[in-house]
């Protein structure tokens, strides 16, 4: 039983990591949003499984929040935004897909190397969850760096937050208050992002953030 519990936790957390890579790799905006929803679904399943094996029913609430907010509400809203911006058919230039994937692999190796020695005192399940969570967080950061479209940058941020929740549930006993406040801050951040994206669009007629670069003061001095 212990081994099956471990295997399924491993499967779900590993699935999240794989989906992070798919996010990094995918260049169609609607597909990115769908993959993000899938990752949130994997997160909620993973959290629900943790609730079962840790015998901690409050984690089920966390799983429900992840499911409703991140797998349904936010992707649906992002789809709406993308549709209203008229970029739902757009194919984004991913900057250097090959190097990005290699960097991503390097980040995964780094997070494994970091977590394994630290967590040698705790159970293998927790240790592994932490390693995966750190990797998902770093990959989310990487996605925010490598994308030029504001919408996919938002997705990178949200997937980073998925990693945070995974880390928090792996470590036993995160208070529910924290989870609620994180979920709400994510929602608020999402609203701010949404407003911001439309403002960028209004100003520059594009959501490509490289357009913003020309308006930075220091650019002109250096060139």
């Amino acid at each position: 039983m212990q081994s099956a519990a471990f295997d399924i936790a491993h499967l779900l957390a590993g699935g999240m990591l794989v989906l992070s890579f798919v996010l990094l790799y995918q260049d169609r905006i609607t597909a990115v949003l769908n993959v993000f929803a899938l990752q949130a679904l994997a997160l909620s399943l993973s959290v629900a499984w943790q609730a079962l094996i840790q015998d901690a029913p409050h984690l089920l609430v966390t799983a429900a929040i992840a499911l409703v907010v991140k797998a349904i509400v936010i992707p649906a809203a992002l789809h709406r935004i993308v549709r209203r911006l008229g970029i739902h058919r757009e194919i984004e230039e991913v900057i250097g897909a090959g190097p990005t994937m290699l960097t991503g692999l390097g980040l995964v190796a780094l997070s494994i190397l970091l977590v394994l020695p630290v967590g040698s005192s705790v159970s293998i399940l927790v240790r592994e969850d932490l390693a995966f969570a750190l990797a998902v967080i770093l990959l989310g950061l990487l996605m925010m760096i490598t994308r030029r479209n504001a919408v996919t940058q938002i997705v990178g941020f949200m997937s980073l937050e998925n990693g945070l929740v995974l880390a928090a549930t792996g470590a036993k006993g995160m208070p529910l208050v924290v989870e609620f406040s994180v979920a709400f801050s994510i929602l608020i951040a999402f609203i701010v992002f949404g407003v911001f994206v439309f403002r960028i669009r209004e100003r520059f007629d594009t959501v490509d953030v490289t357009a913003l670069d020309q308006f930075r003061g220091e650019r002109g001095e250096h060139l």
């Binding site: 081994s3 099956a4 491993h10 499967l11 890579f21 897909a97 991503g104 394994l116 592994e128």
Partner: protein
């Protein structure tokens, strides 16, 4: 007596892969044709093609060297040895000790090397471009393949195919993300290596998209028959490798009772049939890729295989 039985079982394996190879190719063609709403040739058409080619005159270019004439047999021999070594219906055959995964990768690389040399030998532009593309695909696919080998070997503790299959049948390996990822990467590599869509189109002679066909364009008669048989054998090899590594159920293991052997052979043929029908379904679902996108496609396989190895390290804790 025991030796003779062992030899016979190994012989059955060798003949089985050779006999079934054109049929597998025929099945994929029929299903693909049906999916495209064509009637398509009967599944035994590749046998007839091979028979016809064997009896046709082999035309050689004036400046063809001995290499050009030797290469088809070399390719066929290397591929046949590889396909005969992969456990199909039973593990622990007589030559199973030599069926190392890395050795099989090396055998396929030898075949590819010979074919690429032959492609460049006559000096036509097609042969050259085909050879250069084939080498590019190989240089991308082989690292991924080796990482898949490592991830499987880390789970099973050996790179010997027959032992891997036996481990996976007997012991409870459980749900492994790593093996799933390795399977995913393996499918990508197999598609690329067998010159199927989206990497290469096996049915076309349109110069822009050819890789494999461009290399063998100058061949005719029995030489072409050898090369086509080798291509069919390679498909069987990859299918049986997939079946042996990831779905080894049904194989006869230690005791080779006749009943077990029959179950083994029937389940092997069933697996081939399933894989042979999945391949054209996948092929019709995607479009051919541009050559410049190959690195991304195979890079995905590499990333998945590398991830599989990393995940194994996490679960065992270095």
């Amino acid at each position: 007596m025991a030796l003779i039985v062992e030899l016979a079982l190994q012989g059955v394996q060798m003949v089985l892969v050779l006999a079934v190879a054109p049929f597998l190719l025929g099945i994929t063609r029929v299903i693909k044709a049906r999916l495209l709403r064509r009637i398509g040739p009967p599944p035994w058409q590749p046998y007839l093609d091979l028979w016809k080619l064997m009896h046709k005159e082999a035309v050689l270019a004036h400046n063809a060297s001995w290499l050009y004439r030797v290469a088809p047999y070399l390719v066929f021999a290397a591929t046949w040895v590889g396909a005969a070594l992969v456990p199909t219906y039973a593990t622990n055959l007589m030559f199973s000790w030599s069926a190392d995964l890395i050795a099989i990768v090396a055998l396929l690389a030898t075949a590819r090397f010979a074919l690429a040399l032959a492609g460049m030998d006559v000096g036509t532009a097609f042969g050259g471009i085909g050879a250069s593309r084939e080498m590019m695909i190989a240089s991308l696919a082989e690292p991924a393949m080796l990482l898949i080998v490592f991830s499987v070997a880390l789970v099973a503790g050996t790179t010997q195919l027959s032992a891997i299959a036996a481990t996976f049948i007997d012991s409870h390996v459980g749900l492994r993300v790593s093996l799933g990822l390795a399977l995913f990467a393996f499918v990508f590599v197999a598609v690329a290596e067998n010159a199927r869509i989206p990497i290469d189109n096996p049915a076309t002679h349109l110069e822009l998209t050819m890789v494999h066909e461009a290399m063998v364009l100058e061949y005719s008669g029995r030489h072409l028959a050898m090369i086509e048989a080798a291509a069919a054998l390679k498909l069987v090899l990859y299918c049986s490798l997939l079946a042996c590594l990831f779905f080894p159920f049904g194989m006869a293991t230690l005791e080779k009772e006749p009943g077990d052997l029959i179950v083994g052979i029937v389940s092997y043929l069933g697996k081939l049939l399933v894989l042979g029908s999945l391949l054209p379904i996948g092929e019709t679902a995607v479009a051919k890729m541009r050559v410049f996108r190959y690195p991304i496609f195979l890079g995905g396989a590499f990333a998945a295989a590398a991830l599989a190895v990393f995940l194994l390290f996490v679960s065992r804790g270095l």
